[in-house]
């Protein structure tokens, strides 16, 4: 054994124990080789210690993102070494399994079309009794969103509702409901291109790239899937589906390019309560201040109140009751919670005035339910009563007593302190003084 041979062994061995007996013997008696052994051991130690400390939150963030990713489909084969193809297959797998999980848990009806799930950060906690109808799911989404404050949570909720809207749009298109599908496509456009793109742009830069890449890839895939479906079905149905495919593709481009929220769709008014619910929920997630969030929540609550009336008059008391639960949460957290936050922060007089207006508006929205109850046919009464009971706490928080909707503060408005006295210093309202003069 000479030094040259021993050196090759020394450089390849991790420890002295890995060396053959002959080499160990040589090293023991050779200063040069012993020195080399010490040197390379020291270098290895240096290498192990030279790693810069990482961000401890990165590992936790990974868990958060992983929690939102559905299981990949078993047995997916790699179609190509090209990265895009691999990703495409993965997302197909993710989507199918996501749908199966949804079907198994009752969140997606079994007749719904299969489409990819958009993986996005931690999903909200599942409801104990997931709602079955589209209206209920929208109201549940609104309640979820108006109770949150983090962009990541908003992104998860918007992703889920976008998927739900797509599924509903496909269902209506295939059922030939030509008026409903375009409305749902506009709703989808608003959620994805306005809401989701805006929220993703607000994510911290370290998670935005990963999450946006996943979301845009899944959206692009959903768009391709819808385009293929549009080609395969009857032309009339295909025409309804193509705008939805375009909405997905444009949303994917926008999110991939980190372009931020698109301008909201032109048609701002004239939709039904579910359109309004989506419009104001998206306003909520993009609102910058607690006051703006309260304002959006008041509009969301008005939309849910309309849904309740519609469902109750349709003779579906169970659904009305569940909508009442959502209404309760929206008013409590979205309206009252954000108003409290606003008032706790030493607001300006104008902000206080606006807050009082929002509170009143929210209160008026729920008063409509009470008025409807007073005149409702027997079939609708049960639903309205149950919805009112379910939303009692929320209604009370914005100025209603839970027993029949009487105002919590009795007396004329000028005695509540929110208004200037109309008599400008007189102790009685205008007109009273005149009448009392004989």
């Amino acid at each position: 054994m000479n030094c040259a041979s021993a050196e090759s062994w020394l450089l390849a061995a991790r420890t002295a124990a890995d060396l053959p007996e002959g080499v160990r013997g040589h090293v023991a008696g050779c200063d040069h080789c012993r020195g080399l052994q010490r040197l390379v051991s020291a270098i290895d130690r240096q290498a192990a210690g030279a790693v810069r400390p990482g961000d401890p939150a990165a590992r936790r963030r990974l868990d958060t993102i992983l929690a939102a990713l559905p299981d990949p489909r078993p047995g997916v084969r790699r179609a190509s070494r090209a990265r895009s193809h691999v990703l495409a297959l993965l997302f197909v797998a993710v989507g199918v399994v996501g749908w199966l999980v949804g079907w198994a848990t009752g969140r997606v009806a079994p007749t719904r079309p299969v489409e990819p799930t958009i993986p996005v950060v931690a999903p909200p906690d599942p409801a104990p009794n997931p709602p079955n109808s589209f209206d209920l799911r929208l109201a549940h989404f609104a309640a979820e969103v108006t109770g949150q404050d983090a962009p990541a949570a908003f992104a998860a909720s918007l992703t889920a509702v976008a998927q739900d809207i797509r599924a509903e749009a496909v269902r209506t298109a295939e059922a030939g409901r030509i008026r409903d599908t375009p409305r749902l496509v506009a709703m989808h456009d608003r959620v994805v291109r306005h809401g989701l793109a805006g929220v993703l742009a607000r994510l911290p830069s370290d998670t935005r790239r990963t999450v946006s890449a996943s979301v845009s890839a899944a959206l692009a895939l959903a768009g391709e899937d819808l385009a293929r479906r549009a080609d395969a079905v009857a032309p009339a149905v295909g025409e309804l589906l193509r705008p939805l495919a375009e909405s997905c593709a444009k949303g994917a481009d926008q999110i991939r390019g980190a372009k931020g929220p698109a301008a909201p769709p032109a048609s701002e008014v004239g939709g039904g309560p579910d359109d309004e619910l989506i419009r104001h929920s998206v306003r909520f997630v993009l609102a910058e201040s607690a006051l703006a969030k309260a304002d959006a929540s008041a509009d969301v609550s008005a939309a849910v109140a309309q849904l309740i009336t519609s469902v109750a008059f349709d003779g579906r008391p169970d659904e009305a009751s569940q909508l009442g639960v959502s209404l309760d949460a929206i008013i409590l957290k979205g309206v009252a919670g954000n108003l409290d936050r606003t008032l706790a922060g030493q607001p300006t007089a104008a902000a206080r005035e606006e807050a009082a207006g929002i509170r009143q508006r929210s209160s008026r929205a729920t008063q409509a339910l009470e008025r409807n109850l007073a005149k409702a046919p027997p079939a609708a009464r049960a639903g309205l009563e149950r919805a009112l009971n379910a939303s009692a706490k929320g209604r009370e928080s914005v100025g209603h007593s839970p027993d029949g909707g009487k105002p919590a503060q009795k007396g004329p408005p000028w005695k509540k302190g929110d208004f200037e006295h109309p008599g400008k210093g007189n102790a009685v309202p205008p007109g009273w003084q005149k009448k009392s003069v004989p």
Partner: protein, 182 residues
């Protein structure tokens, strides 16, 4: 985590068990991140690369036909991810000087001085990519040459040679700082 436990975790993770996958991430997060840190330097945050590596691992876990090869497989994903990122234009413009290990220097521990640390960082950066990739893989996860050859997609002999060559060059560069013979 021993090999049997790891194999069990991989199988359970393939069946959709997220806790099992989390245990695998716990096992490999540090070595993968450390390796990526060495490969990417200041071009790309190692945390981001590690995160994307494990996300892709989860999404494609069921494509792994040989659960016993999980370690090799995850390092291959990491390598692909690092190479893909490094081909892009640099996102950062900071100097490539790396902070040495943050340890208290002692008189008998010349290696741990800031000077030696900086020299070592420079020496590692000066290694050609194949040598640096092989050497850091060999160092950070104590990987055997057989496994290394699969990660690096080369022969075992070439993997061994790259490690030897890297250590030889590092020894030559570090000898003046460590008082050794080159």
């Amino acid at each position: 985590m021993d090999h049997e436990t790891e194999l069990d975790c991989v199988r359970r993770a393939q069946a959709g068990d997220r806790a099992a996958f989390s245990a695998l991430v716990d096992r490999y997060w540090s070595p993968v991140r450390a390796w990526l840190d060495g490969l990417a330097g200041d071009r790309e945050p190692a945390d981001d690369l590690a995160q994307e590596t494990f996300l892709k691992a989860w999404l494609s876990l069921r494509q792994l036909s040989e659960p016993a090869a999980f370690r090799v497989w995850v390092f291959r994903i990491a390598k692909t991810e690092a190479l893909a990122q490094l081909r892009k234009p640099a996102r950062r413009t900071e100097a490539l000087t790396r902070e040495p290990a943050t340890r208290q220097p002692g008189p008998a521990q010349a290696l741990e001085t800031a000077e030696a640390g900086a020299a070592f960082a420079a020496a590692v950066r000066g290694l050609a990519d194949p040598y640096r990739t092989a050497y850091l893989l060999w160092t950070h996860d104590q990987m055997a040459y057989t496994e290394m050859s699969r990660v690096l997609e080369t022969t075992e002999e070439t993997a061994r040679w790259r490690v030897c060559e890297a250590r030889r060059r590092l020894a030559r560069a570090m000898a003046p700082h460590l008082g050794g013979k080159s």
